[in-house]
């Protein structure tokens, strides 16, 4: 059903200057799904997220979110679509001059005329959902990395968006925070009826919670499927990635001249 699809990318091409980053991406995310975008560092995952958020525009192809083609929207139109989106940045990107409470209340105060007592109730409900109602009065500098990300998650869902994007939500977290964050993503997606797009290279944690996975390598989708399909995949790249093998289609060595040449061993043996 067409209405089920919240994010749809067709043949999207994007590059920074002359350097191509995305070379024809096709991706769809349905309502209520947790979709993971995986790939090694620097493969274009975050750029893909920026494309869906409208922070960069595709050179070719289309990016549609909630039925609106982002490339055709002006700034006001883009801001209208962004009100349906939430984004969790890699390290939270909390406003450091505001308390946890004010961070979560930020969008409510900016975009609604709700009275302060209603805003207070909503903020406390969102903070309760991520388990940090008791930390409402703290400043971001007083939070641990995992807590900061949970506050950022509460902030991202403050306006009850249809789509939440997560940029490396598991990076640098301890095992407990890792599990908490993964469970939160799944639980919030199910209870709020969201679509979650998770950019990550944490295979084991994300395969526990996702419905569908896209693998990106060198700017193209090289594999896709459900978590079970990905685990069982025979594709060399996916196999190397899922099992964390140090050598394979992604080589251990950065391209270099032959080793014997660099050590000048060939000349001696000749």
């Amino acid at each position: 059903m067409q209405n089920d699809i919240l994010v749809e990318i067709e043949d999207a091409v994007f590059g920074y200057g002359a350097r191509p980053v995305l070379k024809g991406i096709n991706l769809t995310a349905k309502r209520g799904q947790v979709v993971a975008i995986m790939g090694s560092s620097g493969c274009g995952k975050t750029t893909l997220l920026r494309l869906i958020g409208g922070q960069v525009k595709a050179g070719q192809g289309t990016v549609r979110v909630a039925g609106e083609s982002l490339g055709e929207l002006d700034r006001a139109g883009l801001y209208r679509v962004r009100r349906k989106m939430g984004m969790l940045f890699q390290f939270g990107a909390l406003f450091t001059d505001m308390s946890v409470f004010d961070n979560v209340a930020f969008q409510l105060r900016e975009h609604t005329d709700l009275p302060e007592d209603v805003i207070s109730d909503l903020v406390l409900m969102k903070l309760h959902a991520v388990g940090l109602r008791g930390a409402a009065h703290l400043m971001p500098a007083e939070l641990s990395g995992g807590m900061a990300r949970r506050v950022a998650l509460a902030r991202a869902i403050a306006l009850e968006p249809s789509l939440v994007m997560y940029d490396e939500p598991f990076a640098g977290l301890d095992p407990i925070s890792l599990g908490v964050t993964g469970n939160l993503i799944r639980r919030l997606t199910d209870t709020l009826g969201l679509t979650s797009l998770v950019v990550t290279h944490d295979v084991q944690e994300s395969l526990k919670i996702v419905d569908y996975v896209y693998f990106v390598s060198e700017g193209v989708i090289v594999a896709e499927g459900t978590a079970a399909e990905i685990r069982a995949s025979g594709l060399p790249y996916v196999h190397q990635f899922v099992h964390g093998e140090s050598d394979g289609p992604v080589p251990f060595h950065y391209p270099a001249p032959p080793y014997v040449d660099d050590l000048r061993l060939g000349a001696q043996s000749a």
Partner: protein, 262 residues
Amino acid sequence: MLKQAIENLGNHTIQGVWRIGFASRFFLSMLLHSGTAFRRFGLTIREMYFTGVLSLIIILVSGLFVGMVLGLQGYETLQRYGSESALGTLVALSLVRELGPVLAGLLFASRAGSAITAEIGLMKATEQLSAMEMMAVDPIARVVAPRFWAGVISMPLLAALFSAMGVLGGYLVGVKLIGVDEGTFWSQMQGAVDFEQDILNGVIKSVVFGIAVTTIALFEGYDAPPTAEGVSGATTRTVVTSSLVVLALDFILTAFMFRGLN
């Protein structure tokens, strides 16, 4: 060698022109998105606390010392010609026409300007500005414009306070310490300082310096590469560029304002 030098020159010129163009667009965008800064004036007042109130100590203390030195040096020079009664005039005119706006501008650049650049630069480096964009809130309207207007409003007030403290310093040294007649000190000052020619022109200068310093500080922060070196480099550039611009603008404004005056 020569080819390389020409290439470098061309590269720097293109970069310079590009930056001026970007800065001009940034300035215009800031003016166009200033509605929020006035509709929600609380945002601007909050920033006035950071740029203005927190700069008060350095401005007041510097003003006092500059006025005291003016009192000493002025008296020493004037008494050679038997005109020590003109000390009040010398102190007041030096301060309201030149030293007040210029020194307050330089101090404002190093105290508030550097803080603004570092803050905006760090907000960019920690993706706070991107987060705001993703929340459909324009960072130029919400973050930049209130800081700009706070700087523009604070700067003339700081310059006025600098001059007032300077006059007080001159009075303490000239009248209380050296013994110039108090009545002469104040009446000479009152008679010689013209509101339109001296005070108003000083205020105009300080407003222009406020616009220049705040714009440079905000632009450098907004344009800073999102790294530790990027932000520190931008902060240094803010202080250096703002100081030079304040001095250059002072010369231009003085040339226009006081030509032909007796």
